[in-house]
Symmetry: C2
């Protein structure tokens, strides 16, 4: 029952309490170098008794190494980035590295500020979403002298390494499948986010595939904010009223897709005959809906894992590396809202 110390404990305190030099205490606490079992035990006991917590600020300064990995993502609010985080943690949990997360809210200037802040902690590596950044951010990344992995998207030039999928291709493939299934009057529903480059690239790939099939987007609608499920429902209703002959709706994410699906089920529309639906992401959250939405897996946890592996390999194994490119290939997950192609 000793009262809490006013001054935080230092190595010196443990050194004095155990009668061992600071250096040896440091070695014990870090499991580095040869220390006799007897000394080790004594030090550990003293440290525990005092309630000593090492000061990584001082340690980092002295060793010039900080086991932090900066992770910068746009948001936490739609489950895709939390899943990426889980993939990252899964790998880093087996190492000494620790992820530290920062949010950009899809704003490049904010991303730049967060990056600056994080780099000032001298992390061992940086993982950040997307290939589009401010010039200043790219400059900081390029001169940071640590592994940089840009994730999610591979349609562009990375500063260093990149891990992701081609969203252009993802949109194109879904477009091709829809065209092939014989749908003609196709609508697109998405988010109103000029800065969501990945959604934009999917949209581009999608329209491109339709064009190749001689089709154009028959209608489209974009939203911002609010409950995605409800927005999906509302936008679907709006589009179907405005353009009644729509026979397919491609949603830019599964959540609004689910809202649309629920709406169509309620209206007793024949899915996928009368109307087909598809989303994007493969959100397992939504398993359990009355009917499964056809969608495309964005390989989120795999992306997190690969990115973390690159950082870990270069940081810990001293592998030289640099410029790694990992392109994952998403596949359509058929869920019963996209009909089979007509027989030849």
């Amino acid at each position: 029952m000793s009262k809490p110390p006013r001054r935080p404990l230092t190595l010196r305190d443990v050194s004095e309490a155990s009668g061992v030099s600071e250096m040896t205490v440091s070695r014990v606490l870090r499991n580095r170098g040869d220390v006799s079992d007897k000394t080790r035990t004594r030090v550990l006991e003293a440290a525990k008794m005092l309630g000593y917590v090492p000061n990584k600020i001082a340690g980092g300064l002295a060793s010039q190494r900080v086991n932090l990995v900066a992770v910068i993502i746009p948001s936490m609010s739609n489950m895709v980035f939390p899943e990426v985080m889980m993939g990252i943690s899964e790998i880093l949990d087996d190492t000494e590295l620790q992820p530290v997360v920062g949010l950009s809210h899809y704003k490049p200037e904010r991303e730049e500020a967060v990056l600056y802040e994080m780099l000032s902690w001298r992390p061992s590596g940086v993982i950040l979403a997307g290939l589009e950044h401010t010039d200043a951010a790219r400059a900081m990344l390029a001169s940071a002298g640590i592994p940089i992995v840009e994730i999610m998207d591979t349609d562009g030039e990375p500063v260093d390494a990149m891990v992701g999928i081609s969203h252009r291709r993802a949109g194109r493939e879904m477009g091709e499948a829809i065209v092939k299934a014989g749908y003609k009057r196709i609508a697109f529903l998405g988010t109103k986010m000029p800065l969501d480059h990945r959604a934009r690239k999917r949209f581009e790939g999608f329209t491109q595939a339709l064009a190749k099939g001689g089709l154009e987007i028959a209608d489209s609608e974009f939203y911002a904010g609010g409950s995605a499920l409800m927005k999906g429902r509302e936008m679907t209703e709006a589009v179907l009223e405005r353009t009644p002959d729509i026979d397919f709706i491609y949603y830019s994410n599964d959540m609004i897709g689910a809202g649309g699906l629920l709406y169509c089920l309620e209206k007793q529309l024949d899915i996928p005959g009368e109307i087909g639906l598809a989303g994007f992401n493969g959100v397992s959250l939504l398993e359990g809906l009355p009917k499964h939405l056809t969608t495309m897996d964005a390989c989120r946890s795999e992306i997190g894992r690969k990115a973390a592996e690159i950082i870990a390999a270069r940081t810990l194994k001293g592998a030289e590396g640099g410029g790694e490119v990992v392109t994952l290939v998403p596949e359509i997950i058929y869920g019963g809202t996209l009909r089979n192609p007509p027989e030849e």
Copy 2:
């Protein structure tokens, strides 16, 4: 187009480039102390040109102050903690403080390890979920010498400050509302998590309220893992088959509640007449379902905001404080799945 420096830049580099002492450069970069406009401009230009990023490791060691707030939560996977995080960020964004998140995965030992790791960075404060921790964790918290705010739950004794709701009371009030509405055969569906103390307390309060009304839980089911929406559906089906006279189901979270709601709608059950349903959390994610689930707001972002305010006030305004207790009172959100009490 200068090539990236091998050695990270230091204050000295900026000092030399600008012809101003390190000390003055430091003052400019921190906006502290009097510096002439001329000097300031010169320093800022030099720093920008070189691409200098301050070293907070060194700064933190020298100043003995680190603007980090450690936040330890169980998980990111169910939207409740991300919402708490948003509340925290909302407040801290207006200050110099920065949140750093660690996850405990509902394991006390893991929480202890994460806490130790975070305390070793000497944060300005700690926010952590729940009042139940290992003895070692409580000891660390008690002797850390910084503001500690335990959040979510107020049914217990905090180490220092606490902000949350009484889950016991939340469960009791929902139980009372259900009893008052005249339901008699009441089931409970929840997660199989002995370490989720808040769910346990809600359950306790709930059974207590039923007991006061002369009722007992008629059936119950618990799940672990998997898609909550689907589990809600499956468990609802199981319970209704096993105990067909069930007239109310209380779900421990809105996600499984939504799954149950979708199942009941599909089976064309009369809600809330034939069967009533209620959840917990007030997840706006689910607005857009064909029928709204009656639930209870857990005040998540408000909890985050209040907790951050306590840390900010004590850290920045030097307010002495200590032991603040903020008890928020959640209210039932009626959504059409709980019938009105019978007329007297």
